[in-house]
Amino acid sequence: MESNSTSPNLAVRKAARPGWALAGERTLEILIHLCGISAILFVLGIFFFVFKEAFPVLGHEKFSLSQFLFSQEWYPTSEVNKRYGVLAMIAGTFSVTALAMVLAVPFGIGGAIYISEFCGAKTKETLKIVVELLAAIPSVVWGFIGLTVMSRLIVKYTGAPVGVNVLNGGIILALMSVPIIVSIGEDALKAVPDSFREAGIALGATRWQLIWRVLLPAAKNGLLAAVLLGVARAVGETMAVLMATGHAVHIPHSLLDSVRTLTANIAAELGEAPVGSDHYRVLFLTGVLLFLITFVVNLAADFMVRGIRKK
């Protein structure tokens, strides 16, 4: 080894460490590189395996993609005429998510503003910890709360015949996505340089004027990203909506209608669909659809966040 090397410095360094240590280090670095690219492999793997199970149904003559996307007739177990249309579920996901965002966005952004601009350092720490704990509550517990607490409240105050409906799911999802919106929104506000604030204060602006005229415009991409990540969480949420929205497959006409979302549909029927049947494959196809929706939303949010960093 030492005789081969041309540089004396290199020879000294190599002599100081045994060959196995160098080989071990090399192996470990290869392992680290492999782990680094594993995330890509996992994402591709998820798409591949879900798509693989769904793929055979695409070639089936009785199945058409346009019917899948644009028909609201979901009769997967019908004896004579099986129909797989998920439009009603898309509408369900959309309505619950939209309601959740209407409720969560003002509170999320408002909370982020309060934490970032108004309160003192102690309160700030406390509030951030509470938000973190709020984000940690498991979705099945939220679902359970929707099923037991919220549904009773809804029946009591609105007079709806059943308490598990769009309103219930929307409130639960709002409570679940608020912590994400708060923490990402707070990051976005923190990313606005302090010189912006100082310039505003030097001109005699109050804090509210500063927020309205300077901080919100400056942080708008980051805040939008926060909202998008909240949307992604709401769209992808399974257990909470499974338990809190009821199971009616139809397009909702009011807040008190029961609906079924794309995620809840998979969770509710996958256990009963025979492996390899069209029904089973259509459920996987729904999974592909969900994967693509959240992929696009997350990508958009990432571009927004990166937009600020570049500036």
């Binding site: 498991p138 109050t206 399974t238 996958l270």
Partner: protein, 301 residues
């Protein structure tokens, strides 16, 4: 024109309006934050109140009896521990090494931008899609069947982004000058990582691992179709009731089943199950937060 004797610093109507708006805005945002937190307190309080009749140490240690209408949650609790630790054993090494790669080795090129994008997307994939993936990949393609292995591998992949993100943050907070000092005495990249970067970041990494435990413990959808079952007969006090190829019960799954599938269950039992699940998750989380606060307070740089 102001009269010469008037104080030029006195409040004009404009200033008064501005102050009023400021106070109003502050109160509105404060109320919003309070409304965000209030549900947490109310809900936890309510759950506790309803669960009270069933809550005891016995509830945790008993096995369910009479078709889950009585008894405790021991098999589910142990099952959750199995799932969490197996998934941790897989995802912690991969996640930590991946974070080491991203923070210490990666340059800003297309491959690493792609990896970052993949991590973000992995975090955003809905849990039910992870379940479908676990079913297709581990249960059928890898022939693990419905088992603890399949379920914990699915959980591992799902919680990977949590650990990557927190480890990266911990590594990034080690000042660059530490690394430069080590390189300057002739250490290689890996020697620097092992003897300088990792020891200084270990507390942050640990926090990430703890957070991952709480995340994995609460998930239901990914294990529902890969290895968790409604019921599994387990002896009372059995510490190792499952083998890796068995299916197991899990707290989250148990709560779902109890509240939706089992008729005539005594009312306080699902509430008590929810409290046990919520309590374990929040305790683990609080531990992570406490550790982080403590370590940050004694950080020397």
């Amino acid at each position: 024109m102001t009269p010469p004797d008037a104080n030029v610093f006195s409040e004009t109507p404009l200033v008064r309006r501005k102050r009023r708006e400021e106070a109003l805005a502050k109160w509105i945002f404060c109320a919003m934050s309070a409304l965000m937190i209030l549900p947490l307190v109310l809900i936890i309080g309510y759950l506790f109140e309803r669960a009270w009749p069933s809550l005891s140490l016995g509830f945790l240690l008993e096995v369910p009896t009479r078709g889950m209408r009585a008894g405790g949650v021991w098999p589910a609790f142990v099952g959750t521990i199995y799932l969490v630790f197996l998934s941790l054993a897989v995802s912690a090494p991969i996640g930590i090494l991946a974070a080491v790669y991203l923070n210490e080795y990666a340059r800003d090129n297309w491959l690493n931008r792609l990896i970052n994008l993949a991590v973000i997307n992995l975090a955003g994939v809905p849990s039910i899609v992870h379940a479908l993936f676990g079913l297709g990949a581990f249960v059928y393609a890898a022939r693990f069947g419905y088992s603890i292995i399949s379920a914990s591998l699915t959980l591992a992949i799902m919680t990977l982004p949590v650990i990557i993100a927190s480890t990266r943050e911990a590594l990034a907070s080690v000042p660059r000058s530490f690394r430069e000092a080590c390189w300057n005495v002739g250490a290689t990249r890996w020697q620097t990582i092992r003897s300088v970067v990792l020891p200084n970041a270990i507390s942050g990494i640990l926090t990430g691992v703890i957070l991952q435990v709480s995340r994995a413990a609460g998930e239901t959808a990914p294990i529902m179709f890969t290895g968790a079952v409604f019921f599994k007969a387990v002896q009372k006090g059995d510490l190792f009731p499952y083998s890796l190829h068995d299916q197991c019960m899990a707290l989250s799954m148990h709560l779902y089943t109890l509240s939706t599938q089992v008729p005539d269950v005594q009312e306080s039992i699902p509430f008590a199950t929810a409290v046990v699940l919520l309590g374990s998750v929040l305790l683990v989380n609080a531990a992570a937060i406490a550790l982080r606060v403590y370590l940050r307070s004694r950080k020397k740089w």
